[in-house]
């Protein structure tokens, strides 16, 4: 037998004290396609290198060749846990560019849809924190209500996950009676389940031990890293676009912004839970507010941008002209640059749009909250255990679609 070794150790390999571990790209704990190359010393993490881009779809490039109204479906696929918020954000960006003023009823209806989407988003995140800490029950309790929310979306726009809901200037159709019934039913049933969910977790000794002091970040670091949304608020900074830069008439509503103190997993969990309650409050208020308004209004009077009724296109000359102009991109758009942001499920979702007057954007940049705060992940998990890194990842609510765009 030859003396030659068949195992080639790297230079200085025997002296290496740490182990390299690949967490992802396809790993049940990552909840999405992204990779973390962890350097482990026993079960402690010494270093982490996140790799992203596995589902990059070049939305910014595609958007440069699409008319404005065809970009909405692209935004669906950013944070696919709360697509309606992204859709509305895009509509509002274009409305800001063209200087459109929307009727109150449309804005309130939008708030109902956006807050429902926020509840769905937070439910996924929080119940999955439970799953990752070994408590599967909560997940089962609340996922029924995520389904109910999707049924509402289905009734309003016809689809569930990638919704493409609404149009520039309003909604594609008015809300049906059934959709209002479903919203009311949801408002009636959901608080009970949410209470149950909170009873299971909030003061649960095992859950608290498992999440408190894990994955924490200081307020100043979080701000320097560009954290937004519940993850920033968990550190104690009350920055919420809904109050800092109100849009869609959020200023008409009475709601509060929950904040945490330590910015750890437990605080993020509590902040999200409280935000769900605030969203329920917002939906209730919006439902009350639309009662006094003309129920036939569901879009603004924007003939240059909002497609006319199909029946009118066949029977009225003017509607035909507008229809043609919108579809063929003959409508004049203002030249300018506009930045519009909304409070998405994960934080500040911004749209930086440069228009040169053409039918498509000259440049469109998505400020994706996930992409920006994911870079803090190595700093957060350094020195913690592997199982803590997993629960930190789920508490940051990393959505691969939003990271990669």
């Amino acid at each position: 037998m030859s003396q030659k070794q068949n195992i080639q150790l790297p230079e200085g390999g025997l002296g290496k004290q740490t182990t390299t571990l690949n967490l992802g790209p396809t790993h049940p704990a990552t909840h999405g396609v992204f990779q973390n190359i962890l350097e482990m010393d026993g079960e402690r993490i010494v270093d982490a290198v996140p790799t992203i881009g596995f589902i990059h779809r070049a939305f910014e490039k595609i958007a440069e060749r699409r008319p404005y109204y065809q970009i909405t479906p692209l935004t669906d696929r950013l944070n696919y846990c709360s697509s309606p918020i992204n859709n509305m954000g895009w509509h509002m960006t274009v409305e800001k560019l063209i200087g459109a003023k929307l009727p109150k009823r449309v804005e309130y209806l939008r708030i109902i849809i956006m807050e429902l989407a926020r509840i769905a988003d937070h439910l996924v995140c929080n119940s999955v924190i439970g799953v990752d800490t070994g408590a599967f029950t909560g997940f089962i309790y609340v996922f029924e209500f995520r389904e109910k929310i999707y049924e509402i979306f289905e009734e309003v726009c016809g689809s569930r996950l990638t919704t493409n809901i609404g149009r520039i200037g309003g909604f594609e159709r008015n809300f049906s009676d059934l959709s209002f019934q479903r919203i009311n039913q949801f408002l009636k049933d959901f608080p009970k389940a949410m209470k149950e969910f909170e009873t299971l977790f909030n003061r649960n000794r095992i859950f608290m031990e498992r999440t408190m002091g894990v994955g924490g970040i200081e307020a100043s670091r979080a701000l320097n890293y560009g954290f937004t949304g519940p993850n920033l608020r968990a550190t104690g900074i009350d920055y919420d676009i809904r109050t800092a830069h109100p849009y869609s008439s959020y200023e008409d509503f009475d709601f509060s912004i929950p904040v945490g103190t330590t910015g750890d997993v437990y605080d993020r969990f509590l902040v999200r839970n409280e935000e769900i309650w605030q969203s329920v409050r917002l939906i209730q208020q919006a439902m009350d507010k639309i009662k006094g308004l003309d129920p036939s209004i569901f879009h603004a009077d924007l003939p240059d941008f909002y497609l006319p009724e199909k029946e009118d296109v066949y029977t009225k000359m003017e509607a035909l002209i507008y229809h043609f102009k919108i579809v063929m991109g003959e409508t004049d758009l203002p030249v300018g640059e506009v930045y519009n942001s909304i409070e998405g499920g994960n934080g500040e979702l911004g749209f930086y749009l440069i228009s040169d007057g053409g039918r498509t954007p000259y440049r469109l940049h998505f400020r994706r909250p996930c992409f920006i705060y994911y870079q803090a992940y190595p700093e957060i998990v350094k020195g913690s255990m592997l199982s803590d890194a997993v629960v930190t990842m789920s508490s940051l609510n990393l959505i691969a679609g939003e990271i990669d765009a």
């Binding site: 992203i52 881009g53 990059h56 070049a58 910014e60 490039k61 595609i62 440069e64 060749r65 800001k96 560019l97 670091r221 701000l223 320097n224 890293y225 560009g226 900074i237 920055y239 800092a244 830069h245 063929m328 991109g329 300018g336 640059e337 506009v338 930045y339 942001s341 500040e348 911004g350 930086y352 440069i354 053409g358 039918r359 498509t360 000259y362 440049r363 940049h365 400020r367 992409f371 920006i372 994911y374 870079q375 803090a376 990669d404 765009a405």
Partner: protein, 165 residues
């Protein structure tokens, strides 16, 4: 603090190096000299009155017809306490797209700059890890530049003159 006051302070501090002040849709926008970007960022971040501690966004834009100023790097900052946002730009030539990195002031800039490098080829001088972030390492071009058309170049059935871009 209003946009007007910020503008005045910037002019007092930097003189001719800040110019082209505008206010599109209410957001103060200006340009600065290419090698002055880090000074402006540091001033806006560190000055007690300014307090722009939050980098909202950083991205790049390609203007192929802008001779010697083809690429723009756009910074968007926010003073969270006052809810004030401002935006500024630096222009660089496409043959030598060197800009100082903002990573020393904002940790946010790390990946955003990598993204701008990946898609536009902007060379952020001093960046700790300037490698591609979305695309594969082997890629040898910068896809978001305007010379790369989205659709297959052999197609002749789509006439841009008739149907807009």
């Amino acid at each position: 603090m209003t946009n007007e006051q910020i503008k005045q302070q910037l002019i007092d501090k930097f003189g001719d190096l800040v110019y082209h002040f505008e206010e599109p849709y209410g957001m103060l926008t200006f340009e600065t000299a290419t090698d002055n970007n880090l000074k402006v960022l540091t001033f806006l971040h560190d000055d007690a009155q300014m307090g722009f501690h939050f980098l909202n966004d950083l991205t790049a834009v390609h203007y192929p017809d802008n001779k010697d100023k083809e690429l723009a790097v756009v910074y968007m900052l926010q003073n969270i306490t006052l809810g004030l946002r401002i935006r500024f730009k630096v222009f660089v030539p496409i043959d030598k797209p060197d800009v100082f990195t903002a990573t020393s002031v904002f940790a946010t800039a790390n990946w955003l700059e990598r993204e701008a490098y990946d898609f536009f080829g902007i060379n952020f001088v001093g960046h700790p890890n300037l490698i591609r972030i979305m695309n594969v390492e082997e890629m040898d071009y910068f896809p978001l530049r305007k010379e790369y058309k989205l659709e297959e170049q052999t197609r002749t059935d789509k006439d841009d003159d008739m149907f807009g871009r």
